[in-house]
């Protein structure tokens, strides 16, 4: 199966052969990552070009969140082997905020709550750090408002402290709102659908599609459920288990997964 997937990747990307002027590639090469001396990511290869849509699935504890955090430069993780590159340049030496400034966005599986930091202030600071100072405050505020309406977020949520007292669903939506405001080149969305009700899954998926389209964002969406994929059309699906990619393919492998569970792939891998 692995070989088949590689071929499939090559044919669709075709980016390798074309002269890339404006496009960007996030490339993960033979990545090994340790946390507290325990190896969690055990040699992963992944290539995401802008505008592409990848899905990453895998059993609990397989290392999906760890991969996302490693790409973002979480200080408690150590890359012991391999590389993470953006447009051919290693980003391993870059700090987290510098990676964000390159255009990488991580939606957290569990966003932190920070008391006292107003949500709008937070987005403003973040937007300022990544895209330069906000010039037109009113326009900025109305964009936040408009995006939160598109996400069907409750009015007034913007006035609260960062993620504080947000419901599970509100937290996820708040993350997607940030993605919209920050206009990333690559977005790793760590379970944008978990904890969302059925309607909210659709709303979130549609917003992610729209934002990715606006900005040509390359997406890596981590999920446990295929429901969200009713509204999003991934080109590539990667299955991860015990720190390794054990299977890859187009969205058709989700069907196999639904029918047979991870067992099918673990055996094959």
């Amino acid at each position: 199966m692995k070989r088949m997937v590689r071929d499939c990747l090559r044919s669709t990307t075709s980016i390798d052969d074309v002269d890339l002027v404006d496009s960007m590639i996030l490339e993960i090469k033979n990545l090994h990552v340790c946390a507290e001396d325990k190896e969690i990511i055990k040699g992963i290869d992944l290539k995401i070009a802008d505008g592409e849509f990848h899905v990453l699935m895998g059993p609990n504890g397989s290392g999906k969140t760890t991969l996302g955090k490693a790409i973002m430069g979480y200080p408690k993780l150590k890359v012991t082997q391999g590389d993470i590159l953006v447009d051919g340049k290693s980003i391993l030496e870059l700090k987290t905020d510098e990676r964000a400034k390159l255009g990488i966005f991580l939606q957290f599986q569990n966003p932190v709550e920070i008391d006292g930091i107003g949500f709008v202030n937070f987005i403003n600071a973040s937007h300022g750090a990544i895209n330069g100072p906000t010039k037109d405050v009113k326009k900025f505020l109305s964009e936040i408002k408009e995006r939160s309406q598109r996400l069907h977020m409750k009015d007034g949520i913007q006035k609260r402290s960062l993620n504080q007292g947000f419901s599970g669903g509100e937290k996820k939506k708040a993350e997607i709102l940030q993605m919209g405001m920050l206009r990333p080149k690559f977005a790793i969305l760590d379970e944008p659908d978990s904890g969302l009700d059925i309607d909210a899954i659709k709303v979130v998926a549609e917003n992610v599609n729209e934002i990715a389209k606006e900005n040509g964002t390359g997406l890596l969406v981590i999920t446990h459920y295929s429901r969200i994929l009713n509204y999003m059309k991934p080109q590539f699906v990667h299955i991860m288990s015990s720190g390794k990619i054990i299977a890859e393919g187009d969205s058709s492998i989700i069907k196999t997964l639904e029918e047979k569970g991870y067992e099918a792939f673990v055996n094959e891998g």
Partner: protein
């Protein structure tokens, strides 16, 4: 007590009293090292050296130009400007009557450093508002030599309203001391808003003493910003003596490098239906240190009174240290009182989250400082002061150094207050000031 007796009582008590008189805090106070006070001459009054009017005026000009604040009175080492308003009087301590000293709220026997300031203040500032009068004043205190001791006595008559802002700065080049006593008397139905900004430089030890009494249905709202000074020792209290009296005290502390702050505030409900609030917030980085002490007492007979003390600290570096010590004594049953204290270092997960959103450590700290202290700053009614204090905080988070008079922060501050009205007002005025 006549002036001469007052003076010798003050000198005697300064020599005699321990630095911390209160049994409660004997183990928790910050010592004022000798180098900040050893040069003080108690034999002669001609101890200020030459007046340095030029330096004082250029400091004043800097503040006016950068922050747009004009002052009605400027007090410097061996210099007092001519007050711009007749409600502000400059009194010669030596020519005051016995009654004046008898009525002072800070007696020298109360506190070693109150005694020091009593002994060393020659000119006393008095602001007296008559019934129903309303005034706003800004006073600047700037220490350009080694010492500056001042006293401000405010008397706000029935139904009057006084808004007073004090800027305390210093550009002392050697170890120096700046001492201030604020004594405030609020009569029935009168109101006072006092905003005190300490922005002294790193050579200065700050001694801040403030005491207020509030009569029936009067209100004393106070904001203290402790930002400057190498060492700060503040002792404040408010006594609610009349039924329905009210006080709201918001304190902020921002410590960087090796600053030391020792802030102690007592609020006393002594009358029926009185309401006392104290909210202290400290953010510390580097190896700075702060002791926050807040004490609420509810006296016998103060039925249906309410008292709330909150102390909170945020550590931006694990080398900084904060002790927060809230206390409470309640003699009356029919009251509502709470006190709470919480301090926490900023955790790694939160920092990672902020940096994943593009913020470096300084930018994250700015956001945290704004967020943590913001609610206690935006409560200040005069927006100009909100921006001035925020700008000083921002500059200090970035550059660490204290005592700087920065340009108003160019960065857009979308200060959120949790209160829509305040938020919109600030946003609107933002356009006016920039």
């Amino acid at each position: 007590m006549e002036y001469n007796d007052f003076l010798s009582d003050a000198k005697g008590n300064y020599k005699k009293l321990p630095e911390e008189k209160s049994e409660l805090y004997k183990k928790n106070y910050i010592h004022i090292p000798e180098e900040y006070v050893e040069f003080i001459d108690f034999e002669s009054n001609a101890n200020y050296g030459a007046s340095d009017e030029f330096a004082i005026r250029s400091y004043e000009k800097g503040v006016a130009e950068r922050m747009g604040i004009r002052f009605d009175l400027v007090v410097g080492s061996n210099f007092v400007s001519v007050p711009k308003n007749m409600h502000i009087e400059i009194l010669e301590a030596g020519s005051m009557e016995k009654e004046f000293f008898d009525n002072k709220l800070f007696k020298s026997v109360d506190d070693k450093f109150a005694a020091l300031i009593n002994a060393k203040t020659e000119k006393i500032i008095r602001i007296k508002l008559g019934e129903g009068e309303k005034e706003n004043f800004n006073i600047m205190f700037v220490n350009t030599s080694r010492q500056l001791f001042s006293q401000v006595i405010c008397e706000v008559a029935e139904g009057a309203e006084l808004n007073l802002f004090e800027w305390h700065g210093s550009d002392a080049q050697r170890s120096s001391v700046q001492g201030i006593i604020n004594e405030t008397k609020i009569e029935e139905m009168a109101k006072m808003n006092l905003v005190v900004l300490h922005n002294e430089n790193e050579n200065t030890a700050v001694l801040d003493m403030h005491r207020g009494t509030v009569k029936s249905h009067g209100s004393l709202v106070q904001h203290f910003a402790y930002i400057g000074g190498r060492i700060t020792r503040a002792r404040g209290s408010v006594d609610l003596n009349g039924s329905g009296a009210h006080t709201d005290n918001a304190e902020i502390v921002l410590g960087t490098l090796d600053q030391k702050m020792d802030i102690c505030t007592d609020i006393v409900n002594a009358a029926k239906g009185s309401l006392a609030l104290l909210d202290s917030k400290a953010v510390l980085s580097d190896t700075s240190r702060c002791i926050l002490k807040g004490f609420a007492s509810i006296k016998d007979g103060a039925i249906a009174s309410r008292s709330f003390v909150h102390e909170r600290g945020l550590l931006l570096d694990n080398t900084a240290k904060i002790d927060s010590i809230p206390g409470m004594s309640v003699d009356e049953y029919d009251v509502k009182a709470t006190h709470s204290s919480a301090t926490a270092p900023i955790d790694e997960e939160s920092l990672f989250y902020l940096s994943s959103r593009g913020m470096n450590k300084t930018q994250a700290n700015l956001l945290l400082v704004d967020g943590f202290l913001g609610s206690n700053i935006t409560k200040i009614k005069d927006t100009r002061l909100v921006y001035a204090i925020s700008s000083i905080l921002h500059d200090k988070v970035i550059n660490k150094k204290c005592g700087i008079v920065p340009e108003l922060s160019k960065e857009i501050m979308l200060i959120e207050t949790g209160n829509e009205e305040d938020g919109e007002r600030l946003l609107e005025e933002h356009y006016k000031y920039r």
